[in-house]
Structure formats: C-alpha cells, structure tokens
C-alpha cells in the first residue's frame, strides 16, 4: 500500500520559501502596487520577529496562558476500534475561541503591535478567524474590523455576535458569492486605504508573500506539538498518515510542517465543492499564484461547501507545491460524508467537530472502510475546530 517512492523521497520541503515568496512555481506577491510596500513591511517585521527569542517567548506565553496550548493528542479509542486503525486527534477544538485560527491570529496581532499598528482587519468565512481576530484585538488593545460574506453572516450568526461582543466591527460583504472569497477581496480593498495604521490579518496560508509562509509558521505549533506527542504516544513514534482538512490550508500546513521530514504520508482533505488543490488550475487570486477553481474563460468559480471555512475556490500556494512534489496528496469528500463523520465522532468519542474538521475525518473513515489504510495503521488527524458554530446548520439538516 505504501508508496515508497513518494514517502522516502527526501525533499527539503516546508522550509522558508524561495525568493519572492515562491513555493516551487506558486506563491509570490501579486499584490496591487499600493499594497506591495505594506506586504514588504509585514515580511520584514515577521522575519525579524521570528528570529527574536523575545517575540517567540511572548507568543508562546500567549498561546499557553491565553489560548490553552498545548492542546491534547486524544486517542479516539471507540472509533479506532470500529475502523480498525489507530486514530489520534490533535485537539485544536480545545483552544480558546474553538479553532486553530487563534494560533495564527495571536502571532499576527503581536506582530501588528510590534509594527506599531493600532488596528486589525480580517476576512472570515466560518467566523472562526473573525472571532479569533476580534479576540486577539481585545486582548492586545487593538481595534478590529472583520469582513464577512452576507451568506456566511446568515449561517454563522453565533460567531457574528461573538465578534461584536468582543468589540469588533463586522462588515457584511454583499458582492459575488457573498462568502469567503468576496470577504477576502473586500478586506484587500479596504486595506489599500489604511495600510499606515492597520495590519491585515490574513486567516489562512493564502494571500501575497509573506502571508502563506508566515501563517504556516504561526500554525506550525500544531505540527510541532503533535510530532512530540506522537513520539511519546505512538509505538512507531511517527504516524503512518497525517490528515487535515484544507480550506486555504492553514491547519493542514501547520500540521504537515511538523511531519514534512518524516516518512508520514500527508493527506489534505478538501470539500468536494471547494477542491482547489485537487481540481484547481493555475491562477492568481488574492495576491498569490496557486491553484484555483476556474471556468473555461478563466473566471474564478464559486465554491460550495456546507463548511464555510472550506468554501474557498483556491488553496494556499505551498499546498499546490506539495501536491506537485507528491509530498502530500489532496482528496475530497462530500457534504454528506462530512455530516456523517461529524455525527459519528459525536456518538463514538463525545466530540462534535467543526464541519471543516469533519471533512478530514470523513476521508479517514472512507479510506479505512475501503482498506486503503491497512489495519492497525496509525493516523494523526488534526481536529481543527469545534462544531458549536455549525449547530444551526446541522439542526436544519437533521
């Protein structure tokens, strides 16, 4: 079953990008000229901060004291029994605000303070990144404005109110598909006018350089922790499979980063209707060269997923590169499979996952059922967030 040619290849993957923020042929800084300097400043500030033990220490402290890191590695005992594999869950759902998004946001908010910014802006889909941004802003005394598609505002009411309660302004975006893609465009438009005092806190490993790199580095804590926890908990030390859902790809990138130099097979799971990595073609959107869903005329098509955080027609450039390298593979699952997986995890392990995370699990279930995962193989899956935000969606369905 194991594809030795792929997994034993030793590529120096998931290090710093090449010049101009390139991961293979992807990435770059395809920003309007008005944002180029702002991006450069972020890149420079990040590079300095990341090399500064003081910054790293402050961030580590915030992650520990405020966000609740490290998150546990939970053996999913009953489900493992049913599936015939050994499934471990990296519990990002237990972080403050309920998803991995907080890891990145605390990093960027701290960077914003270091850069003398007084305000954060962000796009959000599921609302998790928006809530995380509002949270970090409150914590560090910054202002926050969050752009959110009108459609997502409707299906993620809870998060909208949480953001407002935290003091953030939520700006409804009524253009295009009224989801994450359009919220991102609107945030970029807004940023152009306010670069002087405002940091754009991008929520995934997308956008112009340095975002894909920086966000992956801020999310690397998932993979680094999981690597150490696996080493302690697994007989084999390293899991056979490392699985995460992929919207823009930040929880996957952070997870994969911890295992890039191992024999573990990396699997990114996309929504059937938002499969940038699995079915996108080369393009440029939101500042980076990557894979995007497009029609025959080169127009970006609208993604469709029950999971708002996966409702994005593209994927981060590094994932496109990992796909080309064969280092990671990207698969898709349907809305129905994801909902089924969410219910199954609730019933067997007492965990209601975010619908985004349920995609990763749906693939594990399918692959185990299909015998694609040999009996007894070890699977590390990042549970990127908790399902509270999706309760009203599920309620309508069930």
């Amino acid at each position: 079953m194991r594809d030795v040619s792929t997994s034993s290849r030793s590529v120096p993957t998931m290090g710093e990008p090449r010049a101009l923020g390139r991961f293979g042929e992807y990435g770059g800084r395809y920003a309007p000229e008005s944002l180029v300097e702002a991006c450069r400043e972020v890149a420079e500030a990040f590079r300095e901060a990341w090399a500064d033990p003081g910054f790293r220490g402050t961030l580590a402290e915030l992650l520990a004291l405020h966000a609740g890191r490290p998150t546990p590695l939970t053996p999913a005992r009953r489900l493992s029994g049913e599936l015939g594999v050994r499934l471990y869950l990296k519990r990002e759902d237990l972080t403050h605000t309920g998803s991995h998004k907080i890891n990145n946001v605390l990093g960027q908010a701290l960077l914003a303070v270091r850069m003398g910014r007084r305000r954060l802006i962000a796009e959000t889909g599921a609302g998790q990144h928006g809530v995380a941004t509002a949270t970090a802003a409150a914590l560090l005394g910054l202002e926050a404005t969050v752009f959110m598609g009108q459609r997502d505002i409707e299906r993620q009411e809870l998060n909208v109110f949480r953001m407002r309660m935290l003091g953030a302004e939520v700006v409804p975006v009524t253009t295009g598909s009224r989801t994450l893609k359009d919220a991102t465009s609107e945030a970029m438009r807004h940023w152009v006018g306010v670069t002087g005092d405002t940091h754009y806190c991008v929520g995934s490993v997308v956008g112009p350089d340095p975002y894909p790199w920086m966000v992956r580095e801020f999310q690397r804590v998932i993979g680094d922790e999981a690597r150490a926890q696996c080493a302690a908990a697994l007989p084999t030390g390293v899991p056979d499979q490392v699985v995460a859902c992929v919207g823009g790809g930040s929880n996957a990138a952070g997870t994969f980063a911890g295992f890039a130099d191992t024999q573990a097979r990396l699997v990114g799971v996309e929504a059937e209707g938002g499969a940038g990595a699995a079915r996108g073609r080369l393009g440029v959107l939101h500042g980076c060269r990557s894979l995007f869903l497009q029609d025959d005329d080169g127009q970006i098509t609208q993604a469709h997923s029950i999971a708002p955080g996966l409702d994005y027609p593209g994927v981060g450039p590094e994932h496109a590169h990992l796909r080309d390298l064969g280092r990671a593979r990207y698969v898709t699952v349907t809305d129905d499979e994801a909902v089924g997986a969410a219910i199954r995890l609730a019933r067997t392990e007492g965990i209601v996952p975010a619908l985004e995370s349920a995609h990763a699990l749906a693939w594990v279930i399918r692959a185990a059922d299909a015998g694609e995962l040999p009996a007894g193989s070890t699977v590390l899956m990042t549970l990127s967030g908790r399902g509270d935000k999706d309760i009203s969606t599920l309620k309508e369905l069930l």
Binding site: Y30, L35, A38, G176, M188, R189, V192, G193, Q294, D297
Partner: protein, 266 residues
C-alpha cells in the same frame, strides 16, 4: 530579463507625441462587453478626443476595483463577456486613431498563458496592457513576452511606492506610467488627493515617459487639476457609473467632451 534598451512602442510614441504638443492626455475606460453594442462607446471616446482607450476585460474577483467597476464587471460577465468575445468585438473595429490598452487581472492572462494572451491582444489591434495585480517585481516575464508580441505592459506606481522602487517602475513601465492617485480602489471621489501631485512629481524625477493619473478622477475640475501635475488622466468609474445608469455613447461623448475641454484649458 526585460530588455531595458528597447525603443518606445506605439503607445508610448503616440502619447509622447500628443503630450509634446502640450495637450493633456485623456484615457477613458470601458468594461468590455458591458452592453450589446459596447464598442460604440469606443467610437464615442475617440470622437470626444480620447488619446488612448482602456478596455477592461471583466474578472470575477476585481480586488482593486470599487463598487462601480465591480458592478460593471458582474454585469458584463452575466452577459457572457469573456476575453475571447471582447477581443473578437475589438477585431471588428476600424482603426480609431488612438491606441487600445487592455486592462485586466493577472488570472486572465495566466489562463491563456502570457504568449497566447498577448498574441490575441495584438491580433485584436490592442497595443497596451495594464495588469493591476501584477506588480513590478513579478512583471519581468510578462513585460518581455508582451514586448515580443508588440504589446506594451504598463506598470502602476502608487503613493506608497518607496523611492528606489518608484524609479525602477518608471524605468520598466512601457507605454506610460500609470500613477495611482490615491491609496484606495477605483471609484469616484469628491476631490483629487494631495498624494496625486506628490506622486507625479516623484515619478517625473526619474523618467520623461508619459505619466497618467488614474483612480478617482471623476470631474472636469479634477481632470484639470490632475493635468497640472501629470501628462493626463485615466477616467474609469465616472464613465462606468454613467454607463450602468443607462447612458449611451452620445451621453458619454458629451461627458468626455467636458473632460477634454477641462484638460485643454490647462
């Protein structure tokens, strides 16, 4: 590497020549495919005294455009506009006597591949290209590919562009330098920002290539003022708002005439 020693192409030659007569340059914009007979707007522009005409290829995600051009793009796409059809429409036009400059987002260029895309432009009679999300440091390859196809790739400069980079942009831009008048998206504004004059002055220090000010220039007064600093103006949202409101080619011709007049008075 971009060949920096190239002699100016037809767009630049045309604009330089007109500028050198002391004329304030006017480049109106229209979103391709916005109405069934949209090319009539081009004729009207030419008749009203445009010095170049910008044709937008609508893109699904116009991240640098304000509401007016977003709406124009959506409308055109909903009508079935595409690179292919718009260029086909342009191919059918007689020579309007002014250069045609296409503007679009980089995704549409990449979609066909730079070479094929530029060749298609050239076949349609287009000689200039503006790609607002392809900044200078990413543009080398397309600049060369375009040049080889006879297309001048215009670069944008912004008030935020710092010094050595600004000179580089001025140097590497083809056709003219597109000076973004303000830190913002396209769209009509109440007044021309102070940044417009400042940026133009800074660009001029490094080049004698024509400099057109764009973004937010909406009224004859603003055009007149812009003309005091730059070699001319690009007028997009002010045109497109009228088109979206139902104005026909004659109405636009009248509107552009007021801008022409304002520039000429200077």
């Amino acid at each position: 590497m971009t060949n920096l020693t190239l002699t100016p192409g037809p767009v630049e030659r045309h604009l330089r020549a007109r500028r050198d007569t002391g004329r304030g340059l006017l480049m109106p914009y229209v979103t391709g495919g916005i109405t069934p007979g949209w090319t009539d707007y081009l004729r009207a522009f030419a008749a009203a005294g445009a010095d170049a005409i910008e044709v937008g290829l609508p893109f699904s995600d116009p991240t640098l455009d304000g509401v007016t051009i977003q709406q124009a793009s959506d409308t055109a796409l909903a009508r079935g506009a595409s690179t292919r059809r718009i260029l086909a429409d342009l191919s059918g036009l007689p020579d309007l006597g002014v250069p045609l400059v296409v503007s679009t987002y980089y995704n549409l260029v990449l979609h066909d591949g730079g070479e094929a895309f530029c060749a298609a432009l050239r076949r349609a009679g287009v000689t200039g290209l503006i790609v607002p999300d392809l900044p200078m440091h990413e543009a080398d390859e397309l600049t060369d590919v375009a040049a080889a196809a006879g297309i001048e790739l215009v670069l944008l400069a912004s008030p935020a562009t710092p010094e050595p980079r600004l000179a580089e942009i001025s140097r590497r831009s083809r056709g003219f330098v597109y000076a973004v008048s303000l830190m913002g998206t396209t769209g009509e504004r109440a007044a021309l920002g102070a940044s417009a004059a400042e940026l133009t002055t800074r660009i001029r220090r490094g080049t004698d290539r024509p400099v057109l000010l764009g973004f937010g220039i909406s009224t004859p007064d603003q055009a007149r003022e812009a003309g005091r600093h730059a070699d001319g103006v690009v007028v997009g949202a002010a045109v497109m708002r009228r088109v979206l409101d139902g104005a026909g080619p004659d109405d636009l011709r009248a509107f552009l005439a007021t801008l022409r007049q304002a520039l000429d008075q200077e």
